[in-house]
């Protein structure tokens, strides 16, 4: 079998790039939050040092093999998602494995990590963790409906389920799906708010109520791995949304601009909002976002 | 000052409980002193007939000099806006009383506190266990013969260098010009002066 070394290079460096970008975005988020709250805020490298500190903890505890593996599940899902999303359009290095999978596959592989995490949290035996998982899964059922409606609308409209085809069809500014199918974008971006887990949909990790919920028994290297995974996953999800709605990116500058613009939507929403209860957020997702999703499908059909 | 309703209450109380010492202290304050075995009927009387439906407070006072504990109930009438303070004295050597939780459920918690802090035993209250203090094995700490300074010195490491600390009672007595009674002096002497 012939080995395409450019592909190998891409597979090796994409997670690193994703990690760096994700961590920087995390730092920027904290600065922006601080500025909005009239504070100075931590340095931009703060998240990076947090992760390094967590890895450098001298002792770690685990409650069993599933908890040991839970962050591994999470990061596997993050990296696999990343590999199956084309990062840079028509690039040999950064399309990775995106020709081998499709959108429905991505929807499912994104859950892989949450499921693994949930199993680990379950084994940690902390009731707070289990409550967090219960809330998280319930909320996931909530935002999945508008998201799937949006994705289905797009798949029907463009008669493809492969991301590369979708990107190729959005070759021009006015072909972006955000303009072609605005309702799908609305539904998806509202679901995206829930997916990112910022306020008002942060009841899963509510620190004051359930002691940060799922990760409450995770510390040291496990928490570090989880934060690494979250950085990569944030980048992967942003890239996925950019690919679907904003026509992908031809180079890294465009990619950073587009993903950052998308990222600011949940972040800014999160800063100015209080927290929904679980059933409130589920009802929220089943109200307007779902209506937008149905509209998107109906518009495509007619 | 219009004490019409207070006097009316006092009259009603006196008519029913002849041994009750009723004093209208001021507007909206009536103080009743009563024998301890008459307290439960009196409280039900106050609740059912005199409209004192709210038990606002329930506490205990240590009268070391008389060798008595005094139980104090504060009842409030929403209809007349009057507070009725009921006092009774019980034996200090073997402090016993009956529970009144059937009249006011919240009394149970007050009784638990009084039990823990003064050692009063309430018959009929089955939750008189450990309440706020954990693993307490000394005298009940709110009794006046419990020496908190001595206890603290014996049980906790005290960092040297605190010389300014004084007993509050001494300071108060000095400022008000009162003489500390002899029996009280026993408990108020600082440990290092012994």
């Amino acid at each position: 079998m012939e080995i395409n070394w450019l592909k190998v290079l891409g597979i090796l460096i994409t997670p690193v790039i994703a990690f760096i970008v994700g961590v920087t975005y995390g730092g920027l988020t904290r600065i922006i939050t601080a500025r909005i709250q009239n504070r100075f805020g931590p340095p931009v490298t703060q998240n990076f040092w947090d992760i390094v500190k967590l890895y450098s903890k001298k002792t770690n505890i685990q409650h069993g093999v599933m908890q040991h593996l839970a962050p591994v599940f999470a990061i596997t899902a993050s990296i696999t998602t990343l590999y199956f999303v084309p990062v840079i359009r028509e690039s040999t290095v950064f399309t990775n494995l995106s020709f081998q999978g499709d959108l429905i596959f991505l929807l499912y592989i994104m859950v892989f990590g949450s499921l693994g995490m949930a199993l680990g949290v379950g084994q940690s035996g902390n009731p707070n963790g289990a409550i967090g998982v219960s809330r998280g899964l319930s909320q996931m059922v909530g935002y999945e409906i508008p998201f799937v409606l949006a994705i289905v609308a797009i798949m029907i409209q463009f008669k493809t389920t492969n991301l590369n085809d979708l990107i190729a069809m959005q070759n021009n500014f006015n072909h972006w799906i955000i303009f072609q199918s605005p309702f799908a974008f609305l539904a998806a971006i509202l679901a995206f708010l829930g997916m990112m887990g910022y306020a008002p949909f942060d009841v899963v990790v509510a620190p004051a109520e359930i002691a940060s919920g799922p990760p409450s028994e995770f510390g040291g290297k496990y928490l570090g791995l989880m934060m690494t995974s979250r950085s990569i996953f944030t980048f992967a999800k942003l890239t996925l949304f950019t690919d679907i709605f904003l026509g992908g990116a031809g180079d890294f500058v465009t990619l950073v601009i587009k993903t950052f613009a998308l990222y600011m939507i949940p972040v800014l929403t999160g800063i100015v909002n209080p927290r929904f209860r679980t059933e409130q957020s589920i009802r929220f997702f089943w109200a307007w976002p779902t209506v937008f999703g149905i509209l998107a499908v109906l518009i495509v059909v007619w | 000052m219009n004490l019409e309703k207070e006097n009316k209450f006092a009259k009603q109380i006196n008519e029913t409980f002849h041994s009750a010492v009723v004093k209208v202290q001021r507007e909206r304050r009536i103080i009743v002193e009563l024998r301890s075995d008459l307290i439960p009927p009196f409280l039900s009387f106050a609740k059912e007939y005199l409209s004192f439906i709210h038990m606002a407070h329930y506490s205990c006072v240590d009268w070391l000099e008389e060798n008595k504990f005094e139980l104090v109930f504060m009842l409030w009438s929403y209809e007349e806006d009057v507070m009725l303070i009921v006092k009774t004295k019980i034996d200090r050597e073997k402090p016993e009383f009956v529970t009144i939780k059937h009249l006011w459920p919240q009394a149970e918690t007050y009784e638990r506190e009084i039990h823990e802090m003064y050692g009063v035993d309430f018959k009929g209250n089955d939750r008189l266990g450990e309440f706020i203090l954990e693993d307490w094995d000394d005298l009940p700490p709110m009794r006046r013969d419990f020496d908190t300074v001595k206890y603290a010195g014996e049980h906790y490491f005290t960092r040297p260098g605190r010389e300014d600390a004084q007993d509050v009672r001494e300071t108060i007595a000095r400022h008000s010009g009162e003489e500390i009674p002899d029996f009280a002096k026993k408990y108020s002497i600082r440990r290092d002066e012994e």
Partner: protein
């Protein structure tokens, strides 16, 4: 040896022999059953595919048996799952009473299912259908007194199903004059509209009872819960597939010849999707592990019904793929639940927790099971779900795909709850002495778990027999490679790449995280958790197991309050009252009954001559 009659005779005779052995030499009873079942698996595998292998005349009817690719798929499910279940039964059923009865009913139901899938005419299908129903009914009422009521429910619904099939047979026979499949399939298109409609509806109803399609699912949760777990695996994994088998035949061989076929498809697809949706909701709030799996089973069969009803090649492939997968993963999950029951004596999820360290193999099985059910790659459930979604989208069933997707997402809720409550969570003091189950019980579970992995990486292996079976149903072809799935727009997903990626990343990160700080990582018990500084005592129960999905319940509100069960109960009450009057008829006098019998026969003769023109 490899003849249909051989398979039938072996199955039924060994049922009787097992019964007799139980009463004479109980020691060899289990091994005898295992060996026989192994032989049957081999025979089913080797049986040549031929439409007419055995035929004989009984009264006026030709009874024909044959092996088709479609029947072979189902026969293999029955045989393999039956073999695993009987292997599992040896230790699981040890010490239980009336084991001869159990084995006999077990073999008879297996034989009944073989009869159904091999029969080539409706008479023998009905005959074996009834044998299967009877023997499974015997197993439903096997356990205890409580089971009788549940058994009655099962029996009433099975009877409804059987009578609808019988009525359909009568209608078919009266207009076609033959009940052989070949004649029925050929002649059905020429029947008049109303008889066609009646036959299709009755057949779908009859088969729908066994596949527990809503609103005929009411019997399933109770019956699945009360049967011994080793048979529940068969019950849910294979027996309910007979309904799917029948629905497939009805749809593609009978209904497709009619003018209202698209309507049937649409309605059945929606029934399937709604079954999946509501069953999932009920499963989310179930507290008993087997009830949960029962509802899950109903929901999964809903997907299959939808897939069959859509009728595009990809969707049929998805449905048949899911049929096999459902047999595998529901078999696994029921066997794993049975293992928990075997060791702890309960399947109540609020009572058992923290078994992972005690029963690691069972946990592994359950883990593979739930990953497969949820359809997360790289295990095999994903391939089936993927094909189903793609086919739904490409056949323009937009809202159907959302409903299916939604119930599939909601399935995560109950699946997580299942594995969390039984295996994860706090390690309880009551389960301190629990051990792993014996090897004979582990082997079937682990082999099934392995199968999910193999079919997950290489779905083509399973799509090969599936596409052969589709050829029998009609001119359906589906494109696939050993590890690559294609949809109708030409998009693909390469399961081998997926599995490799996940596997490599997973292994690398696992090695890193294990080596990093290996010495400083220590294990602590589940009592050593953050409880705001409080030290939990030994007997304190910290597991979050009751009302697990309260927020979700609140969000759903009154949707769940309406239950089909309640409607049936109301109907039952009304019927009960009206049957009070019937007591005047049932006098208890033998002569009166004899008169009734004579009267009934007279009416039967008169009606059959007058209406259907049949000479008895």
């Amino acid at each position: 040896m490899f003849s249909i009659s051989g398979i039938f005779i072996t199955t039924f005779v060994s049922g009787l022999v097992a019964f007799l052995l139980h009463h004479s030499v109980p020691k060899i009873r289990d091994w005898f059953s295992i060996v026989i079942m192994g032989v049957i698996v081999y025979a089913v595998w080797e049986l040549p595919v031929k439409a007419n292998l055995l035929s004989f005349k009984l009264a006026n009817y030709n009874l024909v048996f044959g092996n088709t690719e479609y029947g072979r798929l189902f026969a293999l499910i029955v045989a393999v799952l039956g073999f695993f279940a009987i292997l599992y039964s040896k230790d699981f059923m040890e010490g239980k009473p009336r084991l001869g009865y159990f084995y006999m009913a077990f073999f008879f139901s297996i034989g009944g299912m073989f009869g159904i899938v091999y029969s080539q005419d409706l008479i023998s299908l009905f005959f074996f259908w009834e044998i299967m129903t009877w023997s499974s009914f015997l197993l439903v009422i096997y356990c205890c007194k409580e089971a009788q009521k549940i058994g009655l429910k099962y029996f009433v619904f099975s009877a409804i199903g059987a009578y609808s099939i019988m009525t359909a047979m009568v209608v078919l026979y009266s207009s076609i004059g033959s009940l052989q499949f070949a004649d029925v399939f050929a002649g059905f298109g020429k029947m008049d509209f109303w008889s066609q409609l009646l036959v299709v509806v009755l057949l779908l109803m009859g088969f729908g009872v066994k596949s527990a399609t809503m609103p005929l699912h009411v019997w399933a949760p109770g019956a699945y819960r009360i049967t011994p777990s080793s048979f529940t695996a068969i019950f849910s994994g294979a027996l309910s597939k007979m309904g799917i088998f029948g629905i497939g035949l009805t749809l593609f061989k009978i209904a497709s010849a009619t003018g209202f076929y698209p309507w049937v498809q649409e309605i059945l697809a929606w029934i399937g999707a709604l079954t999946a949706l509501f069953a999932t909701f009920y499963a989310v709030f179930a507290t008993d592990a087997k009830t949960l799996l029962a509802y899950s089973s109903i929901g999964q069969l809903g997907y299959i019904v939808t897939g069959l009803a859509i009728g595009t090649p990809l969707s049929i492939a998805a449905a048949l793929f899911l049929t096999v997968m459902h047999a595998i993963f529901k078999g696994m999950l029921f066997l794993a639940t049975g293992a928990v029951y075997y060791r702890t004596g309960t399947t109540d999820m609020t009572k058992v927790s923290g078994l992972i360290r005690k029963m690691p193999y069972t946990f592994l099985t359950a883990l593979f099971g739930i990953i497969t059910v949820s359809g997360v790659p790289p295990l095999a459930g994903f391939s089936g779900k993927w094909m189903l979604y793609e086919s739904l989208i490409q056949s323009n069933h937009y809202f159907l795909v959302v409903v299916i997707f939604f119930s599939s997402t909601a399935a995560f809720l109950y699946l997580y709850r299942y594995i969390f409550s039984l295996f994860l969570g706090q390690e309880e003091k009551e389960t301190e002495n629990v051990k792993e189950v014996p090897w004979l019980m582990r082997i079937p579970m682990l082999l099934l778990a392995l199968a999910t992995l193999v079919f997950g990486v290489a779905p083509g292996l399973l799509l090969h027999p599936v596409s052969a079976a589709m050829k029998y149903l009609g001119d359906f072809g589906v494109t696939y490679q050993t590890s690559v799935l294609f949809n109708e727009w030409g998009n693909k997903v390469d399961m081998l790449t997926v599995a490799n990626t996940i596997g490599v990343v997973f292994i690398i990160v696992t090695i890193i995280i294990t080596i990093k700080g290996y010495r400083s990582t220590r294990y602590v018990t589940t009592k050593d958790i953050h409880t705001s500084g409080e030290v939990p005592t030994e007997n304190e129960n910290l597991t979050y197991a009751v009302d697990f999905y309260k927020p979700f319940e609140r969000a759903l509100g009154s949707v769940l309050k309406a239950s089909v069960d309640k409607i049936y109960n109301a109907t039952g009450r009304i019927l009960e009252q009206s049957f009070d009057y019937l007591r005047y008829v049932y006098t208890g006098n033998g002569q009166t009954y004899a008169m009734y019998v004579v009267l009934f026969l007279t009416i039967l003769v008169v009606f059959s001559e007058l209406i259907f023109g049949i000479k008895l």
